[in-house]
């Protein structure tokens, strides 16, 4: 279902999303970055926020694509139906919506061409075969984009998880340090 997670250790970023550095040892991490605990936590929290913003954007794109794909499939269905009718010589009678809640009846004669709405107020006439090919290509592109998007989201969520765990560990390390210091302090007092 997914690529092995060990490859993400060597990836420093993916399509503009920075990878979260995995911390082997909290003490070494803090001395390497030269940050004190609070600064480190603040930095990690900010990273987390940035990840969340990107996640929202990707989720919105995913929703758009997921709506687009059934639309294209419906169009392919219609063209295929027209194709099937071709041999019979009958016209296709269909009820369609001309305005909200108002329907009208159309008689679609046997025809070799269909018009496709390309967006931006542009509609072009295509032969049935060309239309099917174009719609098919759009469908494949949409599905491929969706796959890439899903992989992006998985990568992003992994980085979020790593950052959350790092925050917890830095915090725990701090609590642990304070306890050690307190123990030393009380020992020297007594």
């Amino acid at each position: 279902m997914e690529t092995s997670a060990s490859t993400s250790a060597s990836v420093s970023e993916r399509r503009g999303i920075p990878a979260a550095a995995f911390v082997e040892d909290v003490q070494i991490y803090l001395s390497q970055t030269g940050l004190d605990v609070n600064s480190a936590l603040a930095f990690l929290q900010e990273r987390l926020q940035q990840y969340r913003v990107v996640e929202m954007k990707l989720l919105a794109q995913q929703r758009d694509l997921q709506a687009k794909i059934p639309d294209i499939e419906k169009c392919l269905d219609v063209v295929a139906t027209l194709q099937a009718k071709k041999g019979t010589g009958e016209a296709l009678i269909a009820d369609f919506e001309i305005s909200e809640g108002i329907y009208s009846r159309a008689r679609i004669e046997d025809t070799d061409s269909v018009c496709l709405w390309l967006g931006a107020n542009v509609m072009l006439e295509y032969s049935r075969e060309e239309a099917t090919a174009l719609l098919q290509k759009n469908l494949e592109n949409a599905k491929a984009s969706l796959e890439v998007l899903v992989a992006d989201l998985q990568f992003l969520r992994d980085q979020v998880t790593i950052t959350q765990v790092t925050i917890a560990r830095v915090y725990n390390w701090d609590v642990h340090q304070r306890r050690l210091q307190q123990a030393v302090a009380t020992a020297s007092d007594s």
Partner: protein, 128 residues
């Protein structure tokens, strides 16, 4: 799913642990998506059932069948066939989804054993 260590202990987390946690997170997300998809597939199946039943009851020869955005006038027999086909496709899809869900649940159970084994109380892998 949360990971929170309230005990303040110096817990060592290896890269392998982190990968297991990441994988658990991914599986959990996929599980939620699957549950939604399964719900939609089941509703679709119900709709097809209802449609078939209505078809049997109606005595009209021509049925208005939705193709794309329009309702085409299609003979009853053809509509029956189409609905049968659509039902088959949805049922197969539903089977696949349920299989995937079972596989994910067992993988998650495995990971829970491993992670709870190492981290015990320091980690919480339950749904809140």
């Amino acid at each position: 799913m949360q990971q929170s260590g309230a005990s303040g202990s110096e817990m060592e987390v290896t890269w392998e642990d982190q990968q297991n946690i990441n994988k658990f997170g991914r599986l959990n997300n996929r599980l939620h998506e699957l549950e939604d998809e399964i719900k939609i597939a089941k509703e679709s199946n119900e709709n097809f059932e209802d449609a078939s039943n209505e078809l049997i009851l109606t005595d009209e020869e021509m049925v208005r069948f939705q193709i794309g955005e329009v309702f085409a006038h299609v003979p009853k027999d053809e509509v029956e066939n189409r609905i049968e086909q659509m039902k088959e496709v949805t049922e197969k899809n539903l089977e696949k989804l349920i299989e995937e869900k079972e596989s994910i649940l067992s993988q998650m159970a495995e990971l829970k054993k491993i992670l709870y084994g190492k981290f015990k109380d320091s980690i919480n892998l339950e749904e809140d």
